[in-house]
Amino acid sequence: MFGKKKNVVEASVGSGENAIANKEIEGLSQGQLVRKRFVRHRGAMIALVTLVFIVLFTYSASGLHLGSEKDPITVPGWWHYGITDLSDLRYGDGVCDDGATGCPTLQLNPTQPNFGLGDHPFGQDDIGRDYFALVMRGTEQSIMVMIIIGGMGGIIGTVIGAIAGYFRGRLDGFLMRLTDLIITIPAIIIGAVIGYKVGNLGVVVLGLYLGLFSWTGLARLVRGEFLSLREREFVDAARVAGASNRRIIFKHILPNAVGIIIVSVTLSMSGAILLETGLSFLGFGVVAPDVSLGSLISTYQDSFATRPWLFWWPGLFIISIALCINFIGDGLRDAFDPRQRRRITKKDRQRALTATK
């Protein structure tokens, strides 16, 4: 990028008025302007902070677990239970209500004597494993799958779609038939085969392989967008200015297609959680004793009436992660679109009417 001009030049200019005038005409690049607009988007910033907090919290709680089952690479976390540690199941009168087992010890009401986290804040599962450890571990796995699948699908889909749409001709035909070929194979079958082959190699490898097959929809969308944008006059203008194909694709056309890419990637990230859930449900994805948010929910789907907390916690994390991703995507889309304006609500209209009367 060019046009980056730091404040250094103007620092020596002296008088305050001059400095303001200089600041206004200071050249900002596209990237700088987008960043400025993104930071101003309140929803996106809150979502970004929340997501970073969730990631730090879960990863530090359960520690890092990479590698395959046989030779794991592990960094221990701060929570005192692991996902395989068994402790005594809590049950009985005065401990759990309604004869439930493994109820949570988390008490948020400060007037109660047992206020605080307790030993098992999220409760325990059927055999007494600590549910907090399980949820943390599951969130960690799901975030990993989501980011890897979304990121890989986004990058591959954008590049293939952009190349096909920009160059057209034979290359376009080849790339689109390839896309068709991959679309015709049902996702769940690809997932099952991949899960069967590499499921025990850990969630990172699983995510990478799934990412190789999740770019098709985005590639189609980006291609369509490029087909129409490449005919616009500003592309000719850039070519006359001497821009290379690469520069035209990435600097001129791609920012105009960013809205569609972000919407599609955020959707596919939420879809990735569901795909992983489905695979785990079929026994191909994350294999026991390891867990993911999806496998936790599907394992305990029968317990909703009697032990709802087995449902709440993983559900809460899925929803907050998906919401954060969508808000960030929204903020990015708005930041890239300079035309973004506020909509008129009925309330605004009413207020203006009363003001004029």
């Binding site: 060019f2 850039a238 300079p338 203006a352």
Partner: protein, 549 residues
């Protein structure tokens, strides 16, 4: 006009306001006018003056963030407070609209016959057969050739002028008492425009309808209007008969508006440019073809074009849409491949050049595109757009580049602080200035200007032409100025080339082409240009009728 006749449209204390970001912005303030049967009232003004939105508001056709107040009566019935049902019976039947762009106003998936029949059957209890018969009659009335066959054609199968005729036929379907024509000829070529204006005049006389004509083209107004209402920023500036407004304008704005309109034959002679030197742009027997695509056969857009432009010269290239003038401009800068012939820019051959070689040639050339809204990347701040050629040619980077961008902005008289704005935050005229700044960034020897003023208002166009002339005198670049507007070309050009159907019909000195055209087509083209003077336009009209026979 006759005052004892009941007016068809009577507008009193009429206001239109739009709700934008928490504030009501007025688009039309306290308008008062009436239109009698058989009378043409023209509302003129520049874009943003509220002429279009005020007329859309008459029949409640505005977006939901608008509100109207005052009184609008059509044949004595109040429209602003009328319920949806009354409005619906009036729309189409009593009040009909003709829109600017017939391609978007006609539905592309239905035949024009179907659309006319639909309008008829919405308002009258008619059988399909009877409606079809009436539709053929209407098409005949608007002089569409072969109406029985044309009725089954889709909008894309008709030419621009025929589409506009079809739309007029549709709006006339129910013999409306009031016809609202919103820039009915803006999207058309001058010769077609002249035909449509004639058609509208004849129909108005035949049907005795009232016409509300909304336009920015003073030539059209002079040709058609009985009375004129001038608008600026939502206010009615002046109102009077065509003769009053054109010959004795009272308000300074009307005077400046009329002064800004380029008049054919009003410019003094220009000194000729030395032609004994080597031409900066030379086209020799150039043929340009759009290749076959699927079942669409190859199309030859330009044939046997030979042209020379000398240093410091402005050559005006005129012709109607589809004549291939834009094709020439784009080929001259290497954006279109040449099938045969040779194009030389400053002695370098463009035809068949490698992309790398083209890059070096392009540092000699600059291009200003027709539509500034589309030629500037909407996601790129304009400072970056202007600086891009400099950056890519490795001339400047960082601070140095910033200074050069500032210089260019100064040159085209834009504030330096605009560099961080996005194109949509600028007005049309400002955007076109950005286009010029970008084209001049590399100090080109030749500038190709492809209809740079067609999207601009007259007063902005006048300022833009002044700026271009000043820059040309200062920087001495040669210029290929492509335009459909002969009056604009007259102001700028030293020589003029006329194109028709992909061929050059005539090339010559400006004065020779304008005063003494040799080619039949050039004469047709010149006679079709409306002149902003009712009396003179009447004479020209009659002369044209004679020419056409």
């Amino acid at each position: 006009m006759t005052q004892n006749v009941e007016p068809i449209l009577k507008v009193e204390n009429y206001n239109v306001e739009f709700w934008v970001d928490g504030v009501w912005y007025p688009a039309a303030i306290d308008m008062n006018y009436e239109v009698a049967p058989g009378e043409v009232l023209a509302i003129v003004g520049e874009s943003g003056s509220g002429k279009s939105s005020s007329s859309m508001g008459l029949m409640g056709l505005l977006a939901s963030n608008a509100r109207t107040s005052g009184s609008v009566r059509v044949k004595g019935v109040e429209m602003l407070t009328a319920n949806a049902k009354t409005l619906r019976t009036f729309r189409g039947k009593e009040v009909a609209y003709i829109f600017q762009e017939p391609m978007t106003a006609l539905n592309p998936v239905y035949t024009i016959g179907f659309q006319i029949i639909e309008t008829l059957r919405n308002h009258f209890d008619m059988t399909t057969v009877a409606a079809k018969k009436r539709a053929v009659e209407l098409l005949e009335m608007v002089e569409i050739p072969n109406p029985e066959k044309s009725i089954d054609k889709y909008p894309h199968q008709l030419s621009g002028g025929q589409r506009q005729r079809a739309m007029i036929a549709q709006s006339l379907a129910c013999d409306p008492a009031l016809l609202i024509a919103d820039e009915p000829t803006t999207a058309l070529d001058v010769t077609v425009q002249a035909e449509i204006i004639d058609l509208m005049r004849n129909l108005k006389d035949k049907l005795n309808s009232a016409v509300l004509l909304i336009t920015h083209d003073m030539g059209v107004v002079a040709d058609l209007a009985d009375r004129i209402l001038v608008m600026k920023d939502g206010l009615t500036v002046e109102q009077g008969t065509a003769d009053q407004i054109f010959n004795r304008p009272q308000h300074p704005y009307t005077q400046s508006l009329l002064a800004a309109v380029p008049k054919l034959g009003s410019v003094s002679t220009r000194p000729a440019v030395p032609t004994e030197v080597e031409p900066i742009l030379e086209l020799k027997d150039v043929v340009i073809e759009y290749p076959k695509r699927g079942r669409i056969p190859a199309f030859t857009a330009a044939q046997d074009i030979s042209l020379k432009i000398y240093p410091g010269e402005i050559l005006g290239l005129v012709g109607e849409s589809g004549s291939g003038k834009t094709t020439i401009g784009r080929a001259a800068i290497g954006l279109l491949p040449v099938k045969s012939g040779s194009i030389k820019v400053a002695g370098n051959e463009i035809a068949g050049a490698t992309p790398k070689y083209l890059q070096t040639i392009r540092s000699h050339t600059g291009i200003v595109f027709q539509d500034p809204a589309s030629s500037l990347n909407p996601r790129l701040p304009i400072g970056e757009s202007i600086g891009e050629p400099l950056f890519l040619a490795n001339i400047a980077k960082g601070t140095e580049l910033n200074h050069m961008v500032e210089d260019l902005l100064d040159k085209v008289e834009l504030p330096r602080s605009y560099r961080n704005r996005y194109p949509h935050e600028l007005s049309g005229g400002q955007r076109q200035r950005v286009g010029i700044a970008r084209a001049l960034a590399l100090n080109p020897d030749i500038l190709i200007a492809d209809e740079p003023t067609s999207a601009l208002d007259v007063s902005i166009q006048a300022r833009f032409l002044d700026l271009l002339q000043e820059l040309q005198e200062e920087l001495k670049f040669a210029c290929l100025f492509i335009s459909h507007d002969i009056a604009v070309v007259e102001i700028l050009a030293h020589r003029i080339a006329v194109m028709q159907h992909g061929r050059l019909v005539e090339v010559g000195d400006r004065d020779q082409i304008l005063r003494n055209p040799r080619d039949e087509y050039t004469r047709m083209l010149l006679s079709a240009v409306p002149v902003p003077d009712p009396a003179e336009q009447k004479l020209r009209r009659e002369a044209r009728m004679k020419l056409r026979g």
